[in-house]
């Protein structure tokens, strides 16, 4: 095994160990507030992954993913408050609502590409943002809907719910990890390869027999799924849903997170989201212009590391592996008589 794979594997194991120890290690090292910051990072990184699936793997830049995040949120909130659903059905409603919305809007949106696609996704999200804002009877508008959390599991008399912060953290970690694993499987699957082919060269993809339109639509609905799961989790996490999360500003942030972290890489969105939310949490209490840092970092990364931070890392690892190969060849030469 090469040094690069060893380093990456060790990092992955260390990262997994840290994520599993967060409810105990973080309060001991910093304070318990940061446990919920990390939970929030996990949720938003899933949202950024939804942008990444479209942009990094299919080549469609969506500035409207907040729409599906919002539908995930409202699915949960309306499900619990108005329909009296319990935890899992409400979760399911949020996901199904966002996927259905992605299907309906996607039928029109994926006919277009590049800036036209970006514009139509913004337009769709703006339409529904204003609809959510004005239909206060259903959505609560800007104030949103607050709800009481139903228990997640109940065995006999014992109830487990997100009101327990440790349980909540592991619930979020589990769902987000599952989604990232699914995305990893997807990318390595035949369907994933077809996505990559379309991203690289859509004309060629159609000429080898790929149905570009249908495949883009599938990707759009899957991205809607990721955004919807993130939105539903965030509703559970905050115990409320609000139209303000459907604004295109929210979509735009996810685009920046995904690109800075590294579009087209599995962990790019997680890296990007972590950096920006940590900066925001650390700086915003001292300085109100923290978004200035966000802007500068984004510009620097786009100029100096167009493949994002994870892309930069990959490049280093590839160089390391190359050097290893060169060394191996050299040592072989030396041993030869």
């Amino acid at each position: 095994m090469s040094a690069a794979t060893l380093i990456e594997r060790a990092l992955l194991i260390a990262f997994a160990a840290f994520m599993l120890s967060v409810p105990w290690s973080v309060p001991a090292l910093i304070n318990s507030f940061w446990v919920s910051v990390i939970a929030e990072i996990l949720i938003w990184s899933l949202f950024a992954a939804s942008v990444n699936l479209l942009f990094g793997y299919v080549g469609l830049l969506s500035f409207g993913q907040a729409l599906y995040f919002g539908f995930g949120m409202y699915g949960v909130a309306i499900g619990i408050n108005d329909l009296g659903l319990s935890f899992w059905p409400a979760f399911g409603l949020g996901i199904v609502a966002s996927m259905a919305m992605a299907l309906v809007t996607g039928v029109f949106a994926v006919r277009l590409t590049w800036h036209y696609f970006a514009i139509i996704t913004v337009v769709f999200s703006l339409i529904f943002y204003f609809l959510a804002l004005t239909n206060k009877w259903l959505t609560g508008g800007d104030d949103g809907i607050s709800f009481t959390l139903p228990p997640t599991f109940s065995f006999g008399g014992t109830k487990y719910g997100l009101t327990d912060p440790t349980f909540q953290y592991f619930f979020i970690l589990g769902v987000v990890a599952l989604c990232f694993w699914l995305m990893h499987r997807l990318i390595g699957s035949p369907l994933g390869k077809a996505f990559l082919a379309i991203r690289d060269n859509d004309t060629r993809a159609s000429l080898i027999g790929l149905n570009v339109y249908v495949l883009r639509l599938i990707a759009f609905v899957l991205a809607g799924f990721l955004a919807g799961v993130a939105g539903a989790l965030f509703a559970f996490f905050g115990r409320y849903a609000s139209a303000s999360y459907m604004f295109y500003h929210v979509s735009g942030e996810a685009v920046v997170w995904a690109i800075v972290g590294g579009a087209g890489t599995l962990f790019g969105p997680l890296v990007g989201t972590s950096i920006f939310i940590v900066v925001r949490e650390v700086v915003s209490s001292h300085w109100e212009h923290h978004s200035l840092i966000v802007g500068i970092v984004a510009i620097l990364v786009v100029i100096f590391a167009p493949r994002g931070i994870v892309g930069l890392w990959r490049q280093w690892m590839a160089q390391l592996a190359e050097r290893g190969d060169a060394a191996a060849i050299k040592s072989k030469l030396r041993t030869e008589p």
């Binding site: 997807l186 390595g188 035949p190 390869k193 004309t203 159609s206 790929l210």
Partner: protein
Amino acid sequence: MSEPVLRTENLTKRFGGLTAVDNLSLGIPGGRVHAIIGPNGAGKTTFFNLISGLLKSDGGRVFFHGRDITGLKPHQISRLGIKRTLQIKSVFPQLSVAENLWITSQAGQRFLNPFRSASADRAATAKVDRTLEQIGLTGLAKRAAGTLSYGDVALLEIGMALISEPQLLLLDEPTCGMSPAETERAVTKIRELARTIDIIIIEHDMEVVFGIASDITVMAQGAILASGTPKEIADDERVREAYLGRPEDEDYVEEAVHA
């Protein structure tokens, strides 16, 4: 006479005021390499775009083995067995050479499984390995296609055509921009392919055309100027006239005839 592989009836395409393909009726019989030549702007590539579905015709019909394929989408036409290469070399640059071949061989399937690993399909990977060997790119299998030399990309394109098991292959200037050695290699491959596949080739290099084609159609201003065997075409007065503005091509015609 049996039904031709490809037949067009009054095929027409206009771009604004320009008629790129004008009432083109053509029948191409199977079992032969058919070359389409003509000066720049004659409508050759537009003709390919109409057959492969990248462009919608303004009139007329296209038949493939007697089946009307007019108005079908590119992927539908591709799945019927008509594959093509593009004039400007066109692969999937960020995918590896092996992945390029793999997705090409799998693209025709109606269901692309999202739940299993792509590399788990043994039959497909074996097919990719065989094709890699055939085109001599085994050593570059893991390289990103975008980092290949021009000649290797051209070979990869031919490999992609091979692995997709076409019935009819449309080659759009396959040797354009190649070195003489690369051209020779490509011509050998095309000849090999022609034994089992019907091929229509657009080519500017007259040496290549007269070297591999058994029939030649000359296009000018969107219409057929002449059609026949290489000998007939080389002797045709009108063809010479169409090429008058480009003496270097005339030289080729001359050379080829006397070769």
